[in-house]
Each structure stands twice: as structure tokens, then as C-alpha cells.
């Protein structure tokens, strides 16, 4: 096994592109190292991206923030501007693991590990986050939602590396939130989860909304019917019930040791309902 820690993104791309065997990028390593220890994968090449310039920065850009691919969850939580603009994305990332894991785990790693239960992804999806990708054919931008294509599978081509995730600017009176269900209070994997992002007008009426669900399908689900159920409302009980029902209807989960189909379907709706209420109050709405 070869371990490389290049200084430039070009070297990283070159290393990955010319590797014949199995390669893995290493950001925080909180997934990669576990997989190595469990002998789930025996890579021929590991490329650490933490020494590449710019990878550890959070920069303001066009009213939003660009988050380098090696920025840890803990660093996101300490960034006041980011927390103020996208509290739901930050809280999702901060749910990952524990204090120790937080010091290492990254947004891009969470995304590229492509677990259906990854916590930050539903939150990034409703935030319309965009990944910047550098590969053998140059640089491209891709919506986060298009990166995972199935459990442990991404749409990234050979040699492609995510260099940053961009969280855009947002209108005033907007709020987002992320909630997950786990049987304990921490150190667990989402059984179901939901991200909600919305904007309200001065009367408290929702003008735009996005709703996503995690851990209830092979990839994150965007539930347009749930968003429609609350757009044009003040999140009254009927609207909330309609959102909850639309979420449960959209679920396509598996039955496994972590939860039954029935349980996941029901709690996904409950998480979405509760997340919507938090997002609404963050947007300045009062009920």
C-alpha cells in the first residue's frame, strides 16, 4: 500500500488517475480508517488531501461560503458567519460522531462515502449546495444531490477530487434545519432523517421550501410534494400533517437491524415535521 500526501491538487489528480489498482482519497479518514481496520478494503494507494493549499479554508464568496474539502466539522461549528447563514447544514455536520470524530470528519468525506444515512447530505441538498470538482479533464461544478448514486457509489470519474463545497447566498427570512432519529443520543447512525430549508414573507407565509429525507432510500430523497404542502401556508396543523404524510409516502426504506420499513417510514415524517417547525422559527416565523 502506497501513501501519498501531495501539495497540489494537480499531483493528487495525477496520482489517482495513474493508479491501476484500488485507490482512496483520505480527508478526515473517519470512514477510510474504519474500512481499513475492518479489512473491507485493501487499497493500493491512499492520497491524503490535507496538505493541499486551500483545502482547509472557509471563504466568503458571493454572499455564500466555500468550504474546503479538508475542513472539519468542528471548524465549521466555530465559524460564526457559516453558522448564521446555514445553521441546518452546520448542525447536521456536527451530529456526525463525537467530539473526537468532529475534529477530523469533513463534509466532502461524508458526501463521498455515499452512505444513505450520511447526516450532512440531506441538509446540503436542501441548501442547494454545489461541489467543485477537479479532475483529469479540468474543473467542474456539480450539485451535491448528483454525487451519490447508490450506497457507497458516487458519480465521480476516475481521478476526480472534490476540492470544495459551496453553500450559496440566501434570501432574508430564511431558515434551515436537520433532524435525525437514532435510538441513543449520540454515536449512532440515522435510522431516518430530514432536512428542511424555507423562506417566509413578512406575513409569515412560506414562499419557497425544500424538503429532503435521509436513510429511507438508497440515496437522499427530495420530496417536492412535502415542500408544496407548506408553500403558501403559515405551517398550520393541516400543512404540517400534509408535509408529514407526503414524506412518509415518499419513503422507500429497507428492513434491517437498525429499523423496520414501518418504523423508518413513520419517523421520517415525524423528523420532517419537527425540522420544518425549527426551520420556520429560524426564518423568523412565529406560531
Amino acid at each position: 500500500m502506497r501513501f501519498e500526501s501531495p501539495d497540489t491538487i494537480e499531483q493528487a489528480v495525477e496520482l489517482l488517475n495513474t493508479c491501476d489498482g484500488i485507490s482512496r482519497l483520505l480527508a478526515g479518514g473517519t470512514d477510510v480508517l474504519v474500512q481499513l481496520r475492518l479489512a473491507l478494503v485493501e487499497p493500493d494507494l491512499i492520497v491524503d488531501i490535507k496538505n493541499i493549499a486551500g483545502m482547509r479554508n472557509i471563504t466568503a464568496e458571493d454572499g455564500g461560503f466555500r468550504i474546503g474539502a479538508a475542513v472539519s466539522g468542528a471548524e465549521m461549528g466555530e465559524h460564526e458567519g457559516l453558522v448564521a447563514l446555514w445553521p441546518g447544514v452546520v448542525e447536521a455536520m456536527e451530529l456526525v460522531g463525537s467530539t473526537q470524530v468532529q475534529g477530523r470528519a469533513t463534509l466532502a468525506g461524508n458526501l463521498c462515502n455515499a452512505s444513505p444515512a450520511a447526516d450532512s447530505v440531506p441538509a446540503m441538498v436542501v441548501a442547494n449546495a454545489v461541489a467543485r470538482i477537479v479532475g483529469p479533464n479540468g474543473t467542474r461544478d456539480c450539485p451535491v444531490i448528483d454525487i451519490p448514486v447508490g450506497p457507497s457509489k458516487t458519480s465521480l470519474a476516475k481521478g476526480e477530487v472534490i476540492t470544495s463545497i459551496y453553500l450559496p447566498a440566501r434570501p432574508d427570512n430564511s431558515g434551515d434545519a436537520y433532524l435525525r432519529f437514532i435510538p441513543r443520543t449520540e454515536m449512532d447512525i440515522a435510522v431516518s432523517s430530514a432536512g428542511v430549508n424555507l423562506t417566509i414573507d413578512s406575513a409569515g407565509v412560506v414562499t419557497q421550501a425544500q424538503v429532503s429525507l435521509g436513510a429511507v432510500a438508497p440515496t437522499v430523497l427530495v420530496v417536492d410534494d412535502a415542500a408544496k404542502a407548506i408553500i403558501g401556508t403559515k405551517l398550520d396543523d393541516d400543512a404540517i400533517s400534509a408535509l408529514q404524510a407526503a414524506c412518509s409516502a415518499a419513503c422507500n426504506p429497507i428492513d434491517d437491524k437498525r429499523g423496520t420499513v414501518e418504523f423508518r417510514t413513520k419517523t421520517a415524517g415525524v423528523m420532517a415535521k419537527r425540522a420544518a417547525l425549527i426551520a420556520y422559527s429560524r426564518a423568523g416565523g412565529s406560531k
Partner: protein, 755 residues
């Protein structure tokens, strides 16, 4: 003058005696080593030329081993030895043979993870690579992991042709044990009842969950002498079994117990030790073995799972007229007696006219169960305490009043045979009733649960030796690995008896060659038995020191007493001499007859049973089935709390393990008979943020069987939480829960089902 050291004089003073050291809370003697990393645990030792060994384990739940071909592995560079069951000495038809067969499968594999071959090599990586070259041909057999299904005639038979004793007609070949306890006329009792509740319950297998995996280092030289360093609750047990399995005399094998990172009963048997020793014998090199967490889950512990029918009758005013319980346990592929302990403990808290318990042990394709804190009691008592709670609910009676009305006390004929002596259940219930927790208001979706708990406590074979050093300090050697603070308690009892400060005493756990035999650290026996032996060893040393003083003073040894750490004349008639302290006597010992020591060996008795009562408030989220523990209080009789911090720690730890058992912990098997959650991610023990502070209230009802009144406290604490939490959840959720764990999906399904 109270001559506290003289035989028989102390028991009468129990409860009145004023202690100087006992009952204080000095800093733990093992604390600094543990927080600085200096403590040496099972995996911390290395030896020159050491090899590392790993194990090839069965991927099947049940299969015949047709052939094993290790030739390619042996030929690999760096591989030094391979062992299979052929390399061990047969033990005849005994329980020891089962233990050996569990260490290394013989002829058949009985569960997913059963050890088949072990390889010693120059590194773990080489050993693991070699495992991949081993060819095992299996003939796969049908399997069963569920206790009720394994009792059916259609179930696959695990040990065909093996006869188990005392099994009544009508049971299939997987039933390896049947027991029956009780007294009175059960039918007459039920006839007297105004109301009868009958229910069936299930509990899942849970793992002891110690943080330190099994680990050992074994060496055996060409002279046939061996050494083992190991994380264990009983190094004499490791010595006896390992020596027998590789065919050597016990005197030739010295076993040293490492500092231990948790055991809870799970380290009271052998897994790796005989294997490492056999590999060392073959290779001539020291061999180290450390389990991975996955191996710990698949192949060590856990406790039994259970399925139980309970029937209890009660009068309108809350008097129990009859109780019946039929627990069926499975503890894996080999016989065990945990179900018997379940049947004995089920109704132990109550003074009953008619009671009957019948228990079955059933063999299944799961790992061989190991002891887990009060083995068998938590699941049995859970079923009884749940039904009593339901009866109280139906009759609208206070659950503590009803328990008080029926509580066992001194003179009660227990449900398992003996008549109780001084016991603390009533005092414990009264303390719970009077505690502010019991009167605190409950919020929406909250419920309060109560449960009693009981454990026998064991005593057993014990040896202690102590040397009185020339500088006036004392070195104590005990032979029981310290899993709950015993080195502190033993030092405290030695200091108390000798009349010197705690910090003048250091207690260590000696190896198997330093003192006489000791039973395993289990059954909450150590503070009781080792404490008793320590006090008696101190008395032997005191007698010796009184003799030295008498010699110096030129008076009769009988005319000398021991008071506050010094020899004194018994009275004016004996002569006028200033007290001669322990330090003064020790400093002159070479001139007065040589070194001074005391030792005591005993097969102790009179451990004294222990009762506890737990109170818990829970809140259940009606939309997700999530349970939050809001408040928890433990009331337990400690007899006498030697070091109250440790006693509280035992009570809190027991409660937390019980909460995990009640809410989320379970062994999950797939259709293929393979364990699906062999890791701490999906085997969910509670994390710190899941829990409130567990309040501990210690009661002290002295045990007449111990010089200071001590009762064991290590196990009772895990008994009540299962029912306490289940009763709380049943009230909060508005539906009676009858299966553990009460994981969120199960609670939500019950709530929705009741709508």
C-alpha cells in the same frame, strides 16, 4: 475493653461498632496508574521473540467439520505453529470438555464465530494471511438460535446421543437442564386470588460489554514450565483449565492476572489462554493473543436470552396468593445452569404461601454463555416484577405498598428453599417510599417504574497473606483480580483491624504461586470473602505481635491486648507498660523472633443475600418510541459499605447496564444464523449522554456472617432495572411492554397497535 480481634466478639457489636477507616472514601490506589496509562492490561505485555496468534472461526451457525488442511498455512514464511482441537488433551464427559470444545471446535462447529484453527506467526498480519490459506471442509447442518423454536421436535439436534440428567419426558434432545423450586399448594393459592394476571415475556441475549477485549501472553519452555499473563477474573481458574487442556501439572504453570478492563462475569472462563499456551508449547516461543471487538461479540459471553410464562394471583388488597414462573433460557451450544438461577431468584423478594418455578435450559446455535452479573436473575425477576406492576395497576394499588405487604423478611421461607436471616428488603422499600423521588410530579408522556431485585451472593475459597514490614507498613497479597475496587477495600479492612492508617497498607493481587488457591472473582464474593480472610489474617498477625510485646515486657501473651494499632497490657494486674505500636514491634522483629506475617485460608460461608429497589422516571416520545431516562434512584443494602464510592459505583454501573438491557442491547441474528451486530455501533450500550446522574442510596443492614457486616454489592444492582424501566415505559406509553429490549421500533409498534 473491647477486644475486637478475638473470635466471636465482633458479631454482637455489628451495627454499633465505630469504624475509623471503614466507611471513608480514600482515593483509589489504582487511579493514578489508570489515568496515566502506566497500568498494564492484558495486551500490554511483550516478550522477546514473541509471536502473535489469530484464530480461524466458523462462518457457519452449525456444521460438521469434514476436514482441515493447514499445510499451506504452515508452509508460509513467518508461520511458526498451528493448533486444532487435536492438540489438546480430552477431558472426558465433563463440563471442562465443553469449555475446551468451545475454545477449539472438535468435530462440529456450533455457532458463527466458533474457533476452528489457531495460527502463531511473526506478526498479526502474517497470521491473518495464513488463516486465509487454511482449507476447512464443512458439511452444513440446519441451525436454530431461538429458545422456543429449539425446544420443538422439529428443531435440529445439537448434541445427538448426549444424555442430560433429570430431564422429564416430553422434552426434546436440546433440553439440557430442568429444575423446579417452590412450596405450598399452587392451585389452592390461585383459587384464593381476586385477580390473576398471566403473561409471557422475552428478553434478548446481552453482552457484558467490557471495554478491554480478551488478551493473553503465554510462554512455555522446553522444560515444560509455563507462564500466562492474562486479563481475567480468576487466574487460578485459568491455571487449572489451561494446565489440564495442554496436559501439564498445575504447579508448572504460573498465571498472573493483568490489570483488568472490565469483566462483569464475562472473564470467568477461558477462551484464548489454553490456545496460546498450546501454540507456545509447539513453537517454543512466547505467544500473544488479543481478540478483536468482533471476536469478543461473536465468540465470548454473552448472557442467556429467555422466554418466560408468569402467572400471579392477588387479593383485592394486594396480598399475593400464588406465584408461578416458567423460564426457558438458551445459553448457546453447551449446557449451563443460568436458568436454574432464574427459577431460584424469580420470587425471592416475596413471602409467599404458594410458589412454583420450573426452568429449562435449551441448547441453540449461539456462543457459549458466560456469567453476567447476577446470572439468570435479571430476566426472571423482570417477568415477575412486571406482572406485579400490572396487578397493582389493575387494582389501583401503590406498587411499593404492595411490595411491602408481601416482602420477604427474617424468617421467611424463601421461594428457593432456605429460610432468610437478617435481610434488608423492607428497609430498602421503606427508604424508596420515603425518598423525594417517589413523590416527585411526572410530566406528560412520563411514567414511573419500580422494581425489587435480589441476588444470593457467593463466598467460597479464599487465601490472604500479609507481611508486617520493618518500617511499620503492611503488604497484603490477595488472589482475586480487582474488578470493583477490592484492593482499596481490602487495604481498608486490614488498616481497620490493625489500627493503622489506610495509606500504610498496600494490597496487590498475587500470582498463582504466591498464596493458596482462590475461587474466581465472581458472585460478589471478594469484599466479603477476601475481606473476611484479610481480617482474620490481620488477627493472626496481631496475635503474633501481642506475643512479641509480651516477650519484651516479660509478661504472659494472654495479658496483652491490641488497641488502636498498639499492644497494651490487658490491665493493671498485667503490669504498667506504655503501648507498643505496630511500627515499634515491626522494627524490632528481627530481635524478637523474625519476620511477622499473618495469613488465612478459608472456604467462606455466610455471604448474606442482598436486596435492592430501583425507582425510575422515563419519558416516551409517542411519535418515535424513543425512551429518555429522566431520573433514576437505586436503594440497596450493602451490609456495611467499606468504601462508599465504590459501592455507589457498583450500584450505578449495575443500573446503567440494566438500562441498556431494557432499552437497546440485543444479539441480532439473521436467518443464516449469523450475528449481525458484532460491534459497539449496532450493539447499543448506553452512552454517557443517554443517562441522568444515577442517585445511589446505600442501606446498611449488617450481615451476621461477616466481622464488619459486609454483603456483596456487585450484582444486585443489575437485577431491578429491567422491570423498573419496563414498568415506567408501560405507564408512559400506556401499553404493557413484554419484550426486551424496548427499542424505539418495538415501543412505537406497541403504541400504534394499542390505538
Amino acid at each position: 475493653m473491647v477486644t475486637e480481634y478475638k473470635e466471636g466478639s465482633v458479631g454482637a457489636e455489628l451495627g454499633q461498632r465505630e469504624f475509623k477507616v471503614v466507611g471513608t472514601r480514600p482515593p483509589r490506589p489504582d487511579g493514578v496508574d489508570k489515568v496515566t496509562g502506566r497500568a498494564l492490561f492484558g495486551a500490554d505485555l511483550t516478550a522477546p521473540g514473541m509471536l502473535h496468534a489469530t484464530i480461524l472461526r466458523s462462518p457457519h451457525a452449525h456444521a460438521k467439520i469434514v476436514s482441515i488442511d493447514t499445510s499451506a498455512a504452515l508452509a508460509m514464511d513467518g508461520v511458526k505453529a498451528v493448533v486444532t482441537s487435536d492438540d489438546f488433551v480430552k477431558q472426558g464427559g465433563s463440563g471442562n470438555q465443553d469449555t475446551l470444545d468451545n475454545c477449539m471446535a472438535r468435530g462440529k462447529v456450533f455457532y458463527d464465530g466458533h474457533a476452528v484453527v489457531a495460527v502463531a506467526a511473526t506478526s498479526v498480519m502474517v497470521a491473518n494471511a495464513a488463516l486465509k490459506l487454511i482449507k476447512v471442509e464443512y458439511e452444513i447442518l440446519p441451525h436454530e438460535t431461538d429458545v422456543d423454536a429449539a425446544m420443538l421436535d422439529s428443531a435440529p439436534v445439537l448434541h445427538a446421543g448426549r444424555k442430560f440428567r433429570n430431564i422429564p419426558e416430553g422434552n426434546n434432545a436440546n433440553v439440557s437442564g430442568f429444575w423446579e423450586f417452590g412450596h405450598g399448594d399452587i392451585d389452592e393459592g390461585f383459587a384464593k386470588a381476586d385477580i390473576i394476571v398471566e403473561r409471557s415475556f422475552k428478553t434478548a441475549a446481552t453482552h457484558q460489554g467490557y471495554i478491554e477485549p480478551h488478551a493473553t501472553l503465554a510462554t512455555m519452555g522446553p522444560d515444560g514450565r509455563g507462564e500466562i499473563w492474562v486479563s481475567t477474573q480468576g487466574h487460578y481458574m485459568v491455571r487449572d483449565l489451561s494446565a489440564a487442556f495442554v496436559g501439564m501439572e498445575t504447579s508448572q504453570l504460573r498465571v498472573t492476572a493483568a490489570e483488568i478492563g472490565g469483566g462483569f462475569g464475562g472473564k470467568t472462563t477461558v477462551y484464548l489462554e489454553p490456545v496460546a499456551l498450546a501454540l507456545s508449547k509447539k513453537s517454543g516461543r512466547p505467544v500473544k493473543m488479543v481478540m478483536t471487538r468482533e471476536e469478543v461479540f461473536r465468540a465470548s459471553g454473552p448472557t442467556t436470552s429467555s422466554s418466560t410464562d408468569v402467572k400471579i394471583g392477588m387479593t383485592k388488597d394486594g396480598r399475593i396468593t400464588a406465584g408461578q414462573a416458567k423460564p426457558r433460557y438458551q445459553g448457546g451450544a453447551y449446557p449451563n445452569i443460568t436458568a436454574m438461577l432464574g427459577a431460584m431468584t424469580a420470587f425471592a423478594s416475596y413471602d409467599l404461601e404458594a410458589v412454583q418455578t420450573q426452568a429449562w435450559n435449551v441448547l441453540t446455535n449461539r456462543p457459549k454463555q458466560a456469567a453476567y452479573r447476577a446470572p439468570g436473575a435479571p430476566m426472571a425477576i423482570y417477568t415477575v416484577e412486571s406482572v406485579i406492576d400490572e396487578l397493582c395497576q389493575k387494582l389501583d394499588l401503590d406498587p411499593i405498598e404492595v411490595r411491602l405487604m408481601n416482602a420477604a423478611k427474617k424468617g421467611t421461607l424463601s421461594s428457593y428453599g432456605p429460610t432468610f436471616d437478617e435481610i434488608g428488603l423492607v428497609a430498602t422499600l421503606e427508604a424508596a417510599k420515603a425518598h423525594p423521588h417517589y413523590a416527585a410530579p411526572l410530566g406528560p408522556n412520563q411514567g414511573r417504574g419500580v422494581s425489587c431485585g435480589f441476588w444470593f451472593n457467593f463466598a467460597g475459597n479464599t487465601s490472604v497473606s500479609m507481611g508486617i514490614n520493618e518500617d511499620g507498613t503492611v503488604s497484603v497479597i490477595e488472589g482475586n483480580p480487582d474488578i470493583g475496587g477490592s484492593r482499596a477495600s481490602i487495604s481498608m479492612m486490614a488498616a481497620e483491624e490493625l489500627g493503622i492508617p489506610f495509606d500504610k497498607v498496600r494490597t496487590i493481587v498475587g500470582d498463582t504461586n504466591s498464596i493458596g488457591f482462590n475461587d474466581v472473582t465472581d458472585g460478589s464474593r471478594v469484599t466479603f470473602s477476601v475481606g473476611l480472610a484479610t481480617i482474620k489474617a490481620a488477627r493472626a498477625a496481631i496475635q503474633n505481635m501481642c506475643g512479641r510485646a509480651a516477650q519484651v515486657w516479660g509478661i504472659d501473651a494472654d495479658a496483652v491486648d491490641w488497641v488502636d494499632g498498639a499492644a497494651v497490657p490487658t490491665g493493671h494486674n498485667a503490669g504498667e507498660f506504655p503501648p507498643m505500636t505496630l511500627a515499634e514491634i515491626a522494627a524490632d522483629s528481627a530481635k524478637t523472633g523474625g519476620p511477622i506475617a499473618g495469613h488465612h485460608e478459608v472456604n467462606a460461608d455466610g455471604a448474606g443475600v442482598s436486596f435492592g429497589v430501583h425507582l425510575v422516571d422515563v419519558e416516551v416520545d409517542p411519535e418515535t418510541g424513543f425512551t429518555e431516562i429522566k431520573r433514576y434512584t437505586v436503594f440497596q443494602d450493602a451490609g456495611k459499605a467499606i468504601h462508599p464510592d465504590y459501592v455507589e459505583g457498583q450500584m450505578q454501573g449495575g443500573a446503567v447496564q440494566g438500562i441498556g438491557w431494557a432499552l437497546n442491547e440485543e444479539y441480532i441474528y439473521g436467518e443464516d444464523g449469523k450475528l449481525q451486530n458484532a460491534g459497539f455501533l449496532d450493539y447499543r450500550i448506553p452512552v454517557a449522554s443517554d443517562l441522568p446522574m444515577i442517585d445511589a442510596v446505600i442501606l446498611e443492614i449488617p450481615n451476621p456472617g461477616h466481622p464488619y457486616g459486609v454483603r456483596g454489592v456487585g450484582e444486585t444492582g443489575i437485577v431491578p432495572p429491567l422491570a423498573a424501566v419496563a414498568n415506567g415505559v408501560s405507564h408512559a406509553a400506556g401499553v404493557r411492554m413484554s419484550e426486551l429490549p424496548m427499542s424505539p421500533p418495538r415501543i412505537l409498534a406497541a403504541i400504534d397497535g394499542a390505538k
